[in-house]
């Protein structure tokens, strides 16, 4: 009677089905990198150490609560910011753009100007603290 012995086996026919089910689950729950935005590195807090920068190397951009933009000495529209900054950076590569917005300025306007500065490939952007 020692002739045939049935080999014990785990049925694997439905393995693919199980795996497909899991795949569908992960397909549905996967959300690929959705994080988007404009990156910026803030300066560290350095107490008492104020950096001295020559006045001619600073371009001030002021924004008031109404969203009006004063670039240097002239009032410009949002669309003009990129060209104006690009021109000034080309003239003086050491230029630091200092952006100072009013406390009541809409965040949207701040981002729009930041977007313009990024488009103009501004080498250094400084965010001045509002009063």
């Amino acid at each position: 009677m020692a002739g045939k012995r049935s080999e014990p086996e785990i049925p694997t026919a439905s393995m693919a089905d199980i795996a497909f089910l899991l795949i569908i689950f992960f397909l549905v729950t996967t959300s690929f990198n959705q994080e988007m935005g404009i990156g910026l590195t803030l300066p560290p807090v350095t107490e008492g150490a104020e950096l001295q920068v020559r006045k001619k190397n600073i371009l001030n951009i002021w924004v008031n609560a109404a969203g009006e933009i004063l670039l240097g000495e002239e009032i410009v529209s949002l669309q003009q910011v990129e060209r104006e900054v690009r021109r000034r950076v080309a003239e003086n590569p050491l230029l630091i753009v200092s952006l100072k917005a009013d406390r009541e300025t809409d965040y949207d306007i701040f981002v729009q100007i930041l977007d313009q500065l990024q488009k103009a490939e501004t080498p250094k952007i400084s965010l001045a603290e509002p009063d």
Binding site: L27, G39, T41, P44, L114, D115, P130
Partner: protein, 139 residues
């Protein structure tokens, strides 16, 4: 002319033996790349649009900070007052040195609130920030 007999027919079936392996490979890919949504933030925030919007290179090690139109601040699903931000973010920054703070603020949020929050982040030494925006196309 001799007749050519065509008795042998080629088997046209697609081999399914390795199906399981392929499926498991795909499964492992999706398991590894899946990042579950952990935080929901404040509902109804309208993000600004910017042309220079870029994708963040990493998915993990990001702290989300929501700022609503009325100035309400929420970090990783916790509503928080302005002065507590540094205290909350600093331990996260210590645990993950390459931490990125993603500021998701409403278009109508006052800039003063965002600026104060950035000052708090600087105090917590969390200097990598990301202003969350959506893609905008050239106007």
């Amino acid at each position: 002319m001799p007749k050519i007999s065509r008795k042998q027919k080629a088997d046209v079936g697609i081999p399914t033996g390795s199906m399981g392996d392929i499926v498991f490979l795909l499964l492992i890919f999706f398991m590894v790349t899946t990042v579950f949504v952990e935080y929901r933030g404040i509902a109804g925030i309208e993000q600004p649009r910017a042309e220079m919007t870029k994708r963040l290179e990493k998915e993990r090690g990001i702290v989300h900070m929501w700022i609503a139109e009325d100035g309400e601040i929420n970090i990783d699903d916790m509503t928080i007052v302005m002065s507590d931000i540094a205290g909350l973010v600093y331990p996260k920054r210590v645990a993950e040195p390459r931490l990125i703070i993603s500021i998701i603020a409403d278009v109508g949020a006052p800039y003063g609130t965002v600026a104060d929050a950035m000052l708090q982040l600087r105090e917590a030494d969390a200097l990598q920030v990301n202003f969350a925006t959506l893609y905008a196309y050239a106007r």
